[in-house]
Protein backbone atom coordinates (compact mmCIF):
# COMPACT_ATOMS: atom_id res chain seq x y z
CA UNK A 1 0.00 0.00 0.00
CA UNK A 2 3.00 2.16 -0.24
CA UNK A 3 4.74 3.25 -3.36
CA UNK A 4 8.39 4.01 -2.98
CA UNK A 5 10.48 5.99 -5.42
CA UNK A 6 14.25 6.27 -5.38
CA UNK A 7 15.52 9.31 -7.22
CA UNK A 8 19.29 9.55 -7.62
CA UNK A 9 19.78 8.19 -4.16
CA UNK A 10 23.39 7.94 -3.00
CA UNK A 11 24.83 6.93 0.32
CA UNK A 12 28.33 7.34 1.58
CA UNK A 13 30.03 6.01 4.67
CA UNK A 14 32.85 8.43 5.13
CA UNK A 15 34.41 8.47 1.69
CA UNK A 16 33.07 5.10 0.60
CA UNK A 17 30.24 5.36 -1.84
CA UNK A 18 28.00 2.51 -0.78
CA UNK A 19 24.87 3.23 -2.74
CA UNK A 20 25.51 4.70 -6.13
CA UNK A 21 22.68 6.62 -7.71
CA UNK A 22 19.69 4.42 -7.20
CA UNK A 23 16.70 5.14 -9.43
CA UNK A 24 13.73 2.87 -9.30
CA UNK A 25 10.19 2.56 -8.16
CA UNK A 26 8.67 -0.01 -5.87
CA UNK A 27 5.02 -0.29 -6.66
CA UNK A 28 2.40 -0.16 -4.01
CA UNK A 29 1.56 -3.62 -2.72
CA UNK A 30 4.41 -5.19 -4.59
CA UNK A 31 6.70 -7.87 -3.21
CA UNK A 32 10.15 -6.79 -4.22
CA UNK A 33 13.15 -9.03 -3.70
CA UNK A 34 16.52 -7.41 -3.17
CA UNK A 35 19.36 -9.58 -4.27
CA UNK A 36 23.07 -8.98 -4.39
CA UNK A 37 26.42 -10.18 -3.22
CA UNK A 38 27.34 -9.88 0.40
CA UNK A 39 28.21 -6.27 1.18
CA UNK A 40 26.63 -4.79 -1.93
CA UNK A 41 24.34 -2.49 0.02
CA UNK A 42 21.08 -4.34 0.50
CA UNK A 43 20.78 -3.72 4.19
CA UNK A 44 21.79 -0.13 3.67
CA UNK A 45 19.02 0.31 1.13
CA UNK A 46 16.46 -1.11 3.54
CA UNK A 47 17.75 1.11 6.29
CA UNK A 48 17.38 4.16 4.13
CA UNK A 49 13.82 3.23 3.36
CA UNK A 50 13.21 2.75 7.05
CA UNK A 51 14.71 6.16 7.78
CA UNK A 52 17.46 4.74 9.94
CA UNK A 53 20.21 5.97 7.71
CA UNK A 54 20.62 9.44 6.30
CA UNK A 55 20.43 9.73 2.56
CA UNK A 56 23.61 11.38 1.40
CA UNK A 57 22.07 12.78 -1.74
CA UNK A 58 18.99 12.23 -3.86
CA UNK A 59 15.38 11.89 -2.87
CA UNK A 60 13.24 9.16 -1.50
CA UNK A 61 9.49 9.37 -1.98
CA UNK A 62 6.75 7.39 -0.36
CA UNK A 63 3.30 7.71 -1.84
CA UNK A 64 4.57 10.76 -3.66
CA UNK A 65 5.84 12.50 -0.56
CA UNK A 66 9.52 13.20 -0.08
CA UNK A 67 10.50 11.45 3.12
CA UNK A 68 14.23 12.14 3.42
CA UNK A 69 13.56 14.05 6.60
CA UNK A 70 10.62 12.16 7.97
CA UNK A 71 11.52 10.18 11.07
CA UNK A 72 11.23 6.40 11.02
CA UNK A 73 8.41 6.29 13.47
CA UNK A 74 6.21 8.27 11.13
CA UNK A 75 6.76 6.06 8.10
CA UNK A 76 4.55 3.19 9.25
CA UNK A 77 7.05 0.48 8.60
CA UNK A 78 7.96 -2.87 10.09
CA UNK A 79 11.37 -4.36 9.71
CA UNK A 80 13.14 -7.60 10.43
CA UNK A 81 16.73 -6.71 11.16
CA UNK A 82 19.49 -8.88 9.82
CA UNK A 83 20.85 -9.34 13.32
CA UNK A 84 17.36 -9.42 14.84
CA UNK A 85 17.77 -6.45 17.23
CA UNK A 86 15.60 -8.10 19.83
CA UNK A 87 15.16 -6.27 23.10
CA UNK A 88 17.32 -8.32 25.43
CA UNK A 89 15.42 -7.32 28.54
CA UNK A 90 11.99 -8.31 27.28
CA UNK A 91 10.47 -11.72 26.97
CA UNK A 92 9.63 -13.15 23.60
CA UNK A 93 6.00 -12.14 23.98
CA UNK A 94 6.91 -8.62 25.03
CA UNK A 95 9.32 -8.29 22.17
CA UNK A 96 6.61 -9.21 19.75
CA UNK A 97 3.89 -6.95 21.08
CA UNK A 98 5.98 -3.99 22.15
CA UNK A 99 5.18 -2.03 19.01
CA UNK A 100 1.49 -2.68 19.42
CA UNK A 101 1.52 -1.54 23.00
CA UNK A 102 3.20 1.66 21.95
CA UNK A 103 0.38 2.23 19.50
CA UNK A 104 -2.18 1.75 22.23
CA UNK A 105 -3.91 -1.06 20.49
CA UNK A 106 -6.64 -2.78 22.47
CA UNK A 107 -5.51 -5.58 24.76
CA UNK A 108 -7.73 -8.18 23.20
CA UNK A 109 -6.54 -7.32 19.73
CA UNK A 110 -2.92 -7.47 20.85
CA UNK A 111 -3.29 -10.88 22.39
CA UNK A 112 -5.06 -12.29 19.40
CA UNK A 113 -2.38 -11.00 17.07
CA UNK A 114 0.30 -12.36 19.36
CA UNK A 115 -1.37 -15.73 19.37
CA UNK A 116 -1.57 -15.80 15.60
CA UNK A 117 2.07 -14.84 15.18
CA UNK A 118 3.30 -17.33 17.74
CA UNK A 119 1.37 -20.04 15.99
CA UNK A 120 2.48 -19.07 12.54
CA UNK A 121 6.14 -19.06 13.53
CA UNK A 122 5.97 -22.06 15.82
CA UNK A 123 7.10 -20.18 18.85
CA UNK A 124 4.65 -21.80 21.24
CA UNK A 125 6.11 -22.42 24.68
CA UNK A 126 8.86 -19.85 24.29
CA UNK A 127 6.71 -16.81 25.06
CA UNK A 128 8.25 -16.17 28.43
CA UNK A 129 11.88 -16.75 27.55
CA UNK A 130 14.39 -13.98 27.13
CA UNK A 131 16.16 -13.77 23.77
CA UNK A 132 19.45 -15.01 25.14
CA UNK A 133 17.85 -18.31 26.04
CA UNK A 134 16.78 -18.94 22.48
CA UNK A 135 18.48 -20.70 19.62
CA UNK A 136 19.54 -18.71 16.58
CA UNK A 137 16.55 -19.71 14.52
CA UNK A 138 14.15 -19.03 17.35
CA UNK A 139 15.49 -15.51 17.68
CA UNK A 140 15.02 -14.95 14.01
CA UNK A 141 11.45 -16.11 14.24
CA UNK A 142 10.77 -13.74 17.10
CA UNK A 143 12.13 -10.90 15.00
CA UNK A 144 9.87 -11.95 12.18
CA UNK A 145 6.87 -12.24 14.46
CA UNK A 146 7.54 -8.78 15.78
CA UNK A 147 7.48 -7.34 12.28
CA UNK A 148 4.45 -9.29 11.23
CA UNK A 149 2.10 -8.44 14.08
CA UNK A 150 2.34 -4.79 13.29
CA UNK A 151 0.51 -5.04 9.98
CA UNK A 152 2.07 -1.87 8.73
CA UNK A 153 1.91 -0.77 5.13
CA UNK A 154 5.51 -1.58 4.40
CA UNK A 155 7.39 -4.63 5.54
CA UNK A 156 11.16 -4.66 5.24
CA UNK A 157 12.70 -8.07 5.65
CA UNK A 158 16.46 -8.50 5.82
CA UNK A 159 17.23 -12.17 5.28
CA UNK A 160 14.38 -13.08 7.59
CA UNK A 161 14.59 -16.82 7.13
CA UNK A 162 18.31 -17.41 6.81
CA UNK A 163 18.65 -19.35 10.04
CA UNK A 164 15.65 -21.58 9.62
CA UNK A 165 15.62 -25.17 8.52
CA UNK A 166 14.22 -25.99 5.13
CA UNK A 167 10.82 -27.18 6.34
CA UNK A 168 10.23 -24.20 8.52
CA UNK A 169 11.42 -21.91 5.81
CA UNK A 170 8.92 -23.29 3.32
CA UNK A 171 6.23 -22.94 5.93
CA UNK A 172 7.18 -19.37 6.89
CA UNK A 173 7.50 -18.33 3.30
CA UNK A 174 3.99 -19.49 2.57
CA UNK A 175 2.66 -17.75 5.62
CA UNK A 176 4.31 -14.53 4.56
CA UNK A 177 2.66 -14.72 1.21
CA UNK A 178 -0.67 -15.36 2.91
CA UNK A 179 -0.18 -12.29 5.07
CA UNK A 180 0.56 -10.29 1.99
CA UNK A 181 -2.55 -11.50 0.31
CA UNK A 182 -4.59 -10.47 3.30
CA UNK A 183 -3.09 -7.07 4.00
CA UNK A 184 -1.59 -6.17 0.64
CA UNK A 185 1.46 -4.57 2.22
CA UNK A 186 4.44 -3.58 0.18
CA UNK A 187 7.19 -6.13 0.85
CA UNK A 188 10.87 -5.48 0.41
CA UNK A 189 12.71 -8.65 1.02
CA UNK A 190 16.41 -9.38 1.10
CA UNK A 191 17.37 -12.99 0.61
CA UNK A 192 20.11 -15.17 -0.71
CA UNK A 193 17.81 -18.06 -1.30
CA UNK A 194 16.91 -18.43 -4.90
CA UNK A 195 13.75 -20.35 -4.21
CA UNK A 196 12.56 -17.65 -1.86
CA UNK A 197 13.38 -15.01 -4.42
CA UNK A 198 11.52 -16.80 -7.15
CA UNK A 199 8.49 -17.78 -5.11
CA UNK A 200 7.94 -14.66 -3.09
CA UNK A 201 9.02 -11.94 -5.47
CA UNK A 202 6.76 -10.06 -7.82
CA UNK A 203 9.94 -8.47 -9.03
CA UNK A 204 13.60 -8.90 -8.25
CA UNK A 205 16.12 -6.09 -8.01
CA UNK A 206 19.74 -7.02 -8.21
CA UNK A 207 22.39 -4.76 -6.76
CA UNK A 208 26.06 -4.89 -7.47
CA UNK A 209 28.40 -2.71 -5.46
CA UNK A 210 25.63 -0.29 -4.70
CA UNK A 211 24.44 -0.01 -8.26
CA UNK A 212 21.16 -1.37 -9.55
CA UNK A 213 21.86 -4.02 -12.16
CA UNK A 214 18.41 -5.03 -13.08
CA UNK A 215 14.88 -4.97 -11.83
CA UNK A 216 12.49 -7.42 -13.41
CA UNK A 217 10.19 -10.35 -12.75
CA UNK A 218 11.84 -13.41 -11.27
CA UNK A 219 11.29 -15.48 -14.35
CA UNK A 220 12.78 -12.86 -16.62
CA UNK A 221 15.72 -12.46 -14.32
CA UNK A 222 16.24 -16.18 -14.38
CA UNK A 223 15.39 -16.90 -17.93
CA UNK A 224 16.40 -13.75 -19.75
CA UNK A 225 19.12 -12.17 -17.63
CA UNK A 226 19.94 -8.71 -18.86
CA UNK A 227 23.65 -9.05 -18.42
CA UNK A 228 26.37 -11.43 -17.40
CA UNK A 229 26.36 -10.29 -13.77
CA UNK A 230 22.70 -11.09 -13.37
CA UNK A 231 23.02 -14.30 -15.26
CA UNK A 232 25.80 -15.53 -13.07
CA UNK A 233 24.30 -14.23 -9.88
CA UNK A 234 21.08 -16.11 -9.87
CA UNK A 235 20.91 -19.85 -10.02
CA UNK A 236 22.92 -22.37 -8.09
CA UNK A 237 25.13 -23.58 -9.57
CA UNK A 238 25.11 -20.41 -11.64
CA UNK A 239 24.92 -20.12 -15.37
CA UNK A 240 27.92 -21.41 -17.33
CA UNK A 241 29.41 -18.59 -19.30
CA UNK A 242 32.31 -18.92 -21.67
CA UNK A 243 33.78 -17.24 -24.66
CA UNK A 244 32.41 -18.51 -27.95
CA UNK A 245 32.37 -17.46 -31.55
CA UNK A 246 29.98 -17.59 -34.42
CA UNK A 247 30.99 -18.23 -37.93
CA UNK A 248 28.88 -19.32 -40.80
CA UNK A 249 26.00 -21.04 -38.96
CA UNK A 250 28.43 -22.71 -36.61
CA UNK A 251 28.91 -22.10 -32.93
CA UNK A 252 32.55 -22.45 -32.01
CA UNK A 253 33.76 -23.18 -28.51
CA UNK A 254 37.48 -23.59 -28.46
CA UNK A 255 38.29 -26.11 -31.14
CA UNK A 256 34.85 -27.65 -31.19
CA UNK A 257 32.00 -26.40 -33.26
CA UNK A 258 28.42 -27.43 -33.86
CA UNK A 259 25.78 -26.19 -36.19
CA UNK A 260 23.35 -23.69 -34.70
CA UNK A 261 19.62 -23.83 -35.41
CA UNK A 262 18.55 -21.44 -38.08
CA UNK A 263 16.77 -18.98 -35.79
CA UNK A 264 19.97 -18.39 -33.85
CA UNK A 265 22.13 -18.13 -36.95
CA UNK A 266 19.86 -15.53 -38.38
CA UNK A 267 19.63 -13.62 -35.12
CA UNK A 268 23.34 -13.57 -34.45
CA UNK A 269 24.22 -13.03 -38.07
CA UNK A 270 21.94 -10.04 -38.29
CA UNK A 271 23.69 -8.49 -35.27
CA UNK A 272 27.06 -9.24 -36.73
CA UNK A 273 28.36 -10.82 -33.52
CA UNK A 274 31.56 -12.62 -34.24
CA UNK A 275 32.79 -13.27 -30.77
CA UNK A 276 30.64 -13.24 -27.70
CA UNK A 277 29.96 -14.88 -24.40
CA UNK A 278 27.68 -17.84 -24.47
CA UNK A 279 25.55 -18.57 -21.43
CA UNK A 280 23.84 -21.83 -20.62
CA UNK A 281 22.33 -23.01 -17.34
CA UNK A 282 23.34 -26.39 -15.96
CA UNK A 283 19.87 -27.79 -16.40
CA UNK A 284 19.87 -26.85 -20.07
CA UNK A 285 22.83 -29.01 -20.89
CA UNK A 286 21.67 -32.43 -22.03
CA UNK A 287 24.15 -35.14 -21.26
CA UNK A 288 24.35 -38.17 -23.48
CA UNK A 289 25.93 -41.52 -23.05
CA UNK A 290 27.56 -41.52 -26.44
CA UNK A 291 28.56 -39.04 -29.08
CA UNK A 292 25.75 -37.82 -31.27
CA UNK A 293 25.42 -35.38 -34.05
CA UNK A 294 25.82 -31.81 -32.84
CA UNK A 295 27.19 -32.83 -29.51
CA UNK A 296 30.16 -31.33 -27.71
CA UNK A 297 32.61 -33.41 -25.79
CA UNK A 298 34.10 -32.66 -22.39
CA UNK A 299 36.15 -34.42 -19.75
CA UNK A 300 34.52 -35.11 -16.39
CA UNK A 301 36.27 -33.42 -13.48
CA UNK A 302 34.05 -34.31 -10.55
CA UNK A 303 30.48 -34.85 -9.55
CA UNK A 304 28.65 -33.13 -6.72
CA UNK A 305 25.58 -34.77 -5.33
CA UNK A 306 22.76 -32.51 -4.21
CA UNK A 307 20.18 -35.14 -3.35
CA UNK A 308 17.46 -34.53 -5.85
CA UNK A 309 20.03 -34.23 -8.60
CA UNK A 310 23.73 -33.79 -9.02
CA UNK A 311 26.15 -31.34 -10.55
CA UNK A 312 28.53 -32.77 -13.08
CA UNK A 313 31.59 -30.63 -13.52
CA UNK A 314 33.58 -31.12 -16.66
CA UNK A 315 36.18 -29.42 -18.71
CA UNK A 316 35.16 -27.99 -22.04
CA UNK A 317 38.07 -26.59 -23.97
CA UNK A 318 39.63 -25.19 -20.82
CA UNK A 319 36.37 -23.84 -19.34
CA UNK A 320 34.87 -25.45 -16.25
CA UNK A 321 31.29 -26.22 -17.05
CA UNK A 322 28.64 -27.71 -14.82
CA UNK A 323 25.60 -29.64 -15.92
CA UNK A 324 22.67 -30.90 -13.90
CA UNK A 325 22.10 -34.61 -13.94
CA UNK A 326 21.26 -37.56 -11.83
CA UNK A 327 24.11 -39.90 -12.69
CA UNK A 328 26.53 -39.67 -9.85
CA UNK A 329 28.60 -42.57 -11.01
CA UNK A 330 30.51 -40.68 -13.69
CA UNK A 331 34.22 -41.16 -13.24
CA UNK A 332 36.57 -38.20 -13.38
CA UNK A 333 38.64 -38.31 -16.52
CA UNK A 334 36.02 -40.00 -18.68
CA UNK A 335 34.65 -38.26 -21.73
CA UNK A 336 31.21 -36.81 -21.62
CA UNK A 337 29.00 -35.83 -24.53
CA UNK A 338 26.29 -33.25 -24.46
CA UNK A 339 24.12 -30.93 -26.46
CA UNK A 340 22.87 -27.49 -25.49
CA UNK A 341 19.23 -26.64 -25.27
CA UNK A 342 19.33 -24.11 -28.04
CA UNK A 343 16.10 -22.45 -26.99
CA UNK A 344 17.69 -21.67 -23.61
CA UNK A 345 20.99 -20.33 -24.77
CA UNK A 346 22.02 -16.79 -23.88
CA UNK A 347 24.33 -14.62 -25.88
CA UNK A 348 26.12 -11.67 -24.32
CA UNK A 349 27.97 -8.93 -26.07
CA UNK A 350 31.68 -9.24 -25.62
CA UNK A 351 32.20 -5.60 -24.75
CA UNK A 352 29.15 -4.48 -22.87
CA UNK A 353 28.42 -7.90 -21.32
CA UNK A 354 24.80 -7.21 -22.11
CA UNK A 355 22.35 -9.76 -23.37
CA UNK A 356 21.80 -9.34 -27.06
CA UNK A 357 18.30 -10.81 -26.83
CA UNK A 358 16.60 -13.91 -28.17
CA UNK A 359 15.15 -15.03 -31.50
CA UNK A 360 11.40 -14.93 -31.49
CA UNK A 361 10.95 -18.65 -31.36
CA UNK A 362 12.74 -18.88 -28.02
CA UNK A 363 10.56 -16.20 -26.63
CA UNK A 364 7.37 -17.95 -27.34
CA UNK A 365 8.49 -21.30 -26.20
CA UNK A 366 10.53 -20.39 -23.28
CA UNK A 367 8.25 -22.13 -20.83
CA UNK A 368 7.03 -24.89 -23.00
CA UNK A 369 10.00 -26.08 -24.89
CA UNK A 370 10.40 -29.20 -22.86
CA UNK A 371 7.37 -31.28 -22.38
CA UNK A 372 6.72 -32.50 -18.92
Amino acid sequence: MKEIVFENVCKKYGKNLIIDNLNFTIKSGERLILLGASGCGKSTTLRMIAGLEDITSGNLYMNGKRVNDISSGKRNISMVFQNYALYPHMTVADNIIYGLKVQNIAKAEISSRLKAAVEMLELGGLENRKPKDLSGGQRQRVALARAVVKRSELLLLDEPLSNLDAQLRVHARKELVKIHQTYKQTFIYVTHDQVEAMTIGDRVAILDKGRLQVIDTPSNVYNKPANIFTAKFIGSPGMNIFAAAYADHFLKIGKQSVKLPEFWSAYIGKRNCREFYLGIRPEHIFLQNEKRKNSFVGVVKYVEEYGSHCGIYFDLEGHEVVASGTNTALKPGTNIYFTLDSARMHVFDKESKKNIGYPEVCYDNVYQYQSV
Binding site: S72, G73, N76, V102
Partner: protein, 273 residues
Protein backbone atom coordinates in the same frame (compact mmCIF):
# COMPACT_ATOMS: atom_id res chain seq x y z
CA UNK B 1 32.12 -22.61 30.86
CA UNK B 2 34.32 -24.98 32.70
CA UNK B 3 34.84 -24.70 36.39
CA UNK B 4 38.53 -25.09 36.90
CA UNK B 5 40.32 -25.50 40.13
CA UNK B 6 39.55 -22.15 41.68
CA UNK B 7 40.63 -22.85 45.20
CA UNK B 8 43.52 -20.44 45.10
CA UNK B 9 41.22 -17.68 43.94
CA UNK B 10 38.77 -18.41 46.69
CA UNK B 11 41.47 -18.33 49.34
CA UNK B 12 42.70 -15.01 48.04
CA UNK B 13 39.21 -13.56 47.95
CA UNK B 14 38.35 -14.69 51.44
CA UNK B 15 41.54 -13.17 52.74
CA UNK B 16 40.80 -9.87 51.04
CA UNK B 17 37.30 -9.98 52.41
CA UNK B 18 38.56 -10.62 55.90
CA UNK B 19 40.70 -7.54 55.74
CA UNK B 20 37.97 -5.35 54.39
CA UNK B 21 35.22 -6.60 56.66
CA UNK B 22 37.18 -6.83 59.89
CA UNK B 23 36.74 -3.17 60.77
CA UNK B 24 32.98 -3.48 60.44
CA UNK B 25 32.79 -6.54 62.63
CA UNK B 26 34.98 -4.69 65.00
CA UNK B 27 32.72 -1.67 65.04
CA UNK B 28 29.63 -3.75 65.71
CA UNK B 29 31.33 -5.71 68.44
CA UNK B 30 32.70 -2.61 70.14
CA UNK B 31 29.30 -0.98 70.14
CA UNK B 32 28.14 -3.73 72.47
CA UNK B 33 31.09 -3.45 74.84
CA UNK B 34 31.67 -1.34 77.88
CA UNK B 35 34.48 1.14 77.50
CA UNK B 36 36.87 -0.73 79.78
CA UNK B 37 36.31 -3.91 77.84
CA UNK B 38 36.85 -2.13 74.57
CA UNK B 39 40.32 -1.34 75.80
CA UNK B 40 41.19 -4.56 77.54
CA UNK B 41 39.52 -7.13 75.28
CA UNK B 42 40.50 -5.66 71.96
CA UNK B 43 40.39 -8.81 69.90
CA UNK B 44 37.28 -10.33 71.38
CA UNK B 45 34.60 -10.26 68.73
CA UNK B 46 31.89 -11.37 71.11
CA UNK B 47 31.87 -9.12 74.17
CA UNK B 48 32.40 -10.77 77.53
CA UNK B 49 29.75 -8.58 79.02
CA UNK B 50 27.54 -7.55 76.13
CA UNK B 51 25.66 -4.37 76.89
CA UNK B 52 23.04 -2.29 75.20
CA UNK B 53 23.93 0.71 77.31
CA UNK B 54 25.71 2.49 74.49
CA UNK B 55 22.65 2.31 72.32
CA UNK B 56 20.37 3.28 75.16
CA UNK B 57 22.50 6.30 75.82
CA UNK B 58 22.65 7.60 72.32
CA UNK B 59 18.94 7.17 71.81
CA UNK B 60 18.22 8.90 75.09
CA UNK B 61 20.51 11.80 74.47
CA UNK B 62 19.70 12.44 70.85
CA UNK B 63 16.51 12.54 68.78
CA UNK B 64 18.03 9.76 66.69
CA UNK B 65 14.75 8.83 65.05
CA UNK B 66 14.30 12.34 63.78
CA UNK B 67 17.94 12.54 62.78
CA UNK B 68 17.73 9.30 60.85
CA UNK B 69 14.60 10.54 59.17
CA UNK B 70 16.31 13.78 58.20
CA UNK B 71 19.22 11.91 56.75
CA UNK B 72 16.89 9.72 54.80
CA UNK B 73 15.00 12.67 53.41
CA UNK B 74 18.20 14.39 52.37
CA UNK B 75 19.77 11.32 50.81
CA UNK B 76 16.59 10.20 49.07
CA UNK B 77 15.79 13.63 47.66
CA UNK B 78 19.30 14.16 46.43
CA UNK B 79 19.43 10.69 44.92
CA UNK B 80 16.09 10.87 43.20
CA UNK B 81 16.66 14.30 41.80
CA UNK B 82 20.15 13.59 40.58
CA UNK B 83 19.26 10.25 39.05
CA UNK B 84 16.33 11.71 37.17
CA UNK B 85 18.14 14.75 35.86
CA UNK B 86 21.22 12.71 35.01
CA UNK B 87 19.21 10.21 33.02
CA UNK B 88 17.46 13.00 31.18
CA UNK B 89 20.62 14.87 30.37
CA UNK B 90 22.55 11.75 29.42
CA UNK B 91 19.74 10.75 27.10
CA UNK B 92 19.91 14.11 25.38
CA UNK B 93 23.67 13.88 25.05
CA UNK B 94 23.61 10.41 23.55
CA UNK B 95 20.57 10.39 21.33
CA UNK B 96 20.34 13.94 20.06
CA UNK B 97 22.52 16.11 17.95
CA UNK B 98 22.28 19.74 18.81
CA UNK B 99 24.33 22.83 18.68
CA UNK B 100 27.01 23.18 21.32
CA UNK B 101 26.49 19.65 22.54
CA UNK B 102 30.12 18.74 22.92
CA UNK B 103 31.09 22.00 24.54
CA UNK B 104 28.22 21.83 26.97
CA UNK B 105 29.08 18.29 27.86
CA UNK B 106 32.70 19.15 28.37
CA UNK B 107 31.82 22.05 30.65
CA UNK B 108 29.47 19.95 32.71
CA UNK B 109 31.99 17.16 33.07
CA UNK B 110 34.74 19.56 33.98
CA UNK B 111 32.80 20.53 37.07
CA UNK B 112 33.52 17.09 38.44
CA UNK B 113 36.97 18.44 39.09
CA UNK B 114 35.94 21.47 41.07
CA UNK B 115 36.66 20.64 44.70
CA UNK B 116 33.65 21.26 46.87
CA UNK B 117 35.71 23.30 49.28
CA UNK B 118 36.14 25.75 46.46
CA UNK B 119 32.46 26.51 45.97
CA UNK B 120 31.58 26.17 49.61
CA UNK B 121 31.82 29.84 50.59
CA UNK B 122 29.72 31.23 47.75
CA UNK B 123 27.21 28.44 48.24
CA UNK B 124 26.96 29.28 51.88
CA UNK B 125 26.18 32.86 50.97
CA UNK B 126 23.49 31.76 48.53
CA UNK B 127 21.84 29.43 50.99
CA UNK B 128 21.88 32.14 53.65
CA UNK B 129 20.34 34.61 51.29
CA UNK B 130 17.42 32.39 50.45
CA UNK B 131 16.98 31.68 54.13
CA UNK B 132 17.62 27.98 54.11
CA UNK B 133 20.17 27.72 56.87
CA UNK B 134 19.28 25.27 59.59
CA UNK B 135 16.99 23.65 57.08
CA UNK B 136 17.59 20.38 55.33
CA UNK B 137 16.64 22.01 52.03
CA UNK B 138 19.80 24.02 52.43
CA UNK B 139 21.71 20.79 52.80
CA UNK B 140 20.08 19.30 49.75
CA UNK B 141 20.30 22.05 47.16
CA UNK B 142 24.03 22.44 46.53
CA UNK B 143 24.44 18.67 46.42
CA UNK B 144 22.27 18.58 43.33
CA UNK B 145 24.86 20.09 41.04
CA UNK B 146 26.89 17.00 40.34
CA UNK B 147 27.85 15.82 36.88
CA UNK B 148 29.10 12.37 37.76
CA UNK B 149 25.70 10.86 37.14
CA UNK B 150 25.45 12.37 33.69
CA UNK B 151 28.85 11.00 32.95
CA UNK B 152 28.23 7.45 34.13
CA UNK B 153 24.80 7.11 32.62
CA UNK B 154 25.94 8.53 29.33
CA UNK B 155 28.71 5.94 29.22
CA UNK B 156 26.17 3.24 29.86
CA UNK B 157 23.79 4.51 27.21
CA UNK B 158 26.56 4.55 24.69
CA UNK B 159 26.96 0.85 25.09
CA UNK B 160 23.41 0.03 24.06
CA UNK B 161 23.48 -1.38 20.54
CA UNK B 162 21.99 1.15 18.19
CA UNK B 163 19.77 -1.37 16.36
CA UNK B 164 17.69 -1.74 19.51
CA UNK B 165 16.90 1.92 19.50
CA UNK B 166 16.27 1.79 15.80
CA UNK B 167 13.89 -1.09 16.16
CA UNK B 168 11.92 0.85 18.73
CA UNK B 169 11.88 3.93 16.57
CA UNK B 170 10.48 1.93 13.73
CA UNK B 171 7.70 0.89 16.05
CA UNK B 172 6.84 4.57 16.21
CA UNK B 173 7.81 4.68 19.85
CA UNK B 174 8.32 8.28 20.97
CA UNK B 175 11.26 9.62 22.90
CA UNK B 176 9.54 9.03 26.17
CA UNK B 177 8.66 5.47 25.33
CA UNK B 178 12.10 4.65 24.04
CA UNK B 179 13.59 6.05 27.18
CA UNK B 180 11.18 4.26 29.48
CA UNK B 181 10.92 0.93 27.70
CA UNK B 182 14.26 0.36 26.04
CA UNK B 183 16.98 2.63 27.30
CA UNK B 184 16.16 2.66 30.98
CA UNK B 185 15.83 -1.09 31.41
CA UNK B 186 19.11 -1.58 29.60
CA UNK B 187 21.02 0.96 31.64
CA UNK B 188 19.37 -0.14 34.83
CA UNK B 189 22.58 -1.46 36.35
CA UNK B 190 24.29 1.83 35.71
CA UNK B 191 21.37 3.82 37.04
CA UNK B 192 21.16 1.74 40.14
CA UNK B 193 24.84 1.86 40.87
CA UNK B 194 24.87 5.59 40.31
CA UNK B 195 21.88 5.93 42.56
CA UNK B 196 23.55 3.89 45.23
CA UNK B 197 26.61 6.07 45.03
CA UNK B 198 24.54 9.21 45.27
CA UNK B 199 22.66 7.86 48.20
CA UNK B 200 25.69 6.73 50.11
CA UNK B 201 27.60 9.90 49.48
CA UNK B 202 24.72 12.08 50.47
CA UNK B 203 23.99 9.90 53.46
CA UNK B 204 27.51 10.33 54.68
CA UNK B 205 27.92 13.96 53.67
CA UNK B 206 29.48 15.79 56.54
CA UNK B 207 31.37 18.96 55.70
CA UNK B 208 28.43 20.84 54.25
CA UNK B 209 25.67 19.98 56.74
CA UNK B 210 28.02 20.96 59.56
CA UNK B 211 28.02 24.42 58.12
CA UNK B 212 24.30 24.62 57.54
CA UNK B 213 22.53 22.80 60.34
CA UNK B 214 22.22 24.03 63.87
CA UNK B 215 19.59 22.29 65.94
CA UNK B 216 20.06 18.66 66.77
CA UNK B 217 16.52 18.05 65.58
CA UNK B 218 17.65 19.09 62.12
CA UNK B 219 20.85 17.08 62.23
CA UNK B 220 21.86 14.31 59.90
CA UNK B 221 23.53 11.16 61.13
CA UNK B 222 27.15 12.04 60.39
CA UNK B 223 26.72 15.14 62.51
CA UNK B 224 25.30 13.03 65.29
CA UNK B 225 28.39 10.89 65.04
CA UNK B 226 30.55 13.94 65.40
CA UNK B 227 28.84 14.69 68.69
CA UNK B 228 30.58 11.69 70.17
CA UNK B 229 33.97 12.33 68.72
CA UNK B 230 35.79 14.96 70.66
CA UNK B 231 39.47 15.44 70.67
CA UNK B 232 39.84 17.15 73.96
CA UNK B 233 37.82 14.81 76.10
CA UNK B 234 38.90 11.77 74.17
CA UNK B 235 36.63 9.74 71.99
CA UNK B 236 34.29 7.30 73.65
CA UNK B 237 34.77 4.56 71.14
CA UNK B 238 31.86 2.53 72.32
CA UNK B 239 29.40 5.36 71.90
CA UNK B 240 30.98 6.38 68.63
CA UNK B 241 30.70 2.84 67.33
CA UNK B 242 27.09 2.59 68.43
CA UNK B 243 26.27 5.71 66.40
CA UNK B 244 28.37 4.35 63.56
CA UNK B 245 26.35 1.19 63.51
CA UNK B 246 23.14 3.22 63.42
CA UNK B 247 24.64 5.25 60.59
CA UNK B 248 25.47 2.13 58.62
CA UNK B 249 22.24 0.25 59.06
CA UNK B 250 20.04 1.96 56.51
CA UNK B 251 22.44 2.11 53.58
CA UNK B 252 23.48 -1.42 54.32
CA UNK B 253 19.91 -2.60 54.46
CA UNK B 254 19.06 -0.81 51.26
CA UNK B 255 22.03 -2.35 49.59
CA UNK B 256 21.12 -5.81 50.71
CA UNK B 257 17.62 -5.33 49.34
CA UNK B 258 18.88 -4.01 46.06
CA UNK B 259 21.75 -6.41 45.75
CA UNK B 260 19.62 -9.24 44.42
CA UNK B 261 18.01 -6.86 42.03
CA UNK B 262 21.32 -5.62 40.78
CA UNK B 263 22.60 -9.11 40.20
CA UNK B 264 19.47 -9.86 38.20
CA UNK B 265 19.76 -6.77 36.08
CA UNK B 266 23.40 -7.45 35.45
CA UNK B 267 22.82 -10.98 34.30
CA UNK B 268 19.77 -10.32 32.19
CA UNK B 269 21.16 -7.67 29.91
CA UNK B 270 23.74 -9.78 28.19
CA UNK B 271 22.56 -9.97 24.60
CA UNK B 272 24.35 -7.94 22.04
CA UNK B 273 24.49 -8.27 18.30
Amino acid sequence: MRIESNLKWHILLILALFISLMPIVFAVSTSFKELSEAYSNVLGIIPDKPTLSNYLRIFQELPLNKITFNTLVVAATVTIFKVITSVMAAYAFVYFDFKGKNLLYFILISTIFIPFTMTMIPNYLIISQIGLRNNIMGVILPQLSDATGIFLIRQAMRSIPMPLIEAARLEAAGNFQIMANIVLPLVKPAVISTGIMFFINSWNEYVWPVLILKDTTNYTLPLALQLFVSSEGGTDFCLAMAVSVVTMIIPLGLYLIFQKYIINTFTSSGVKG
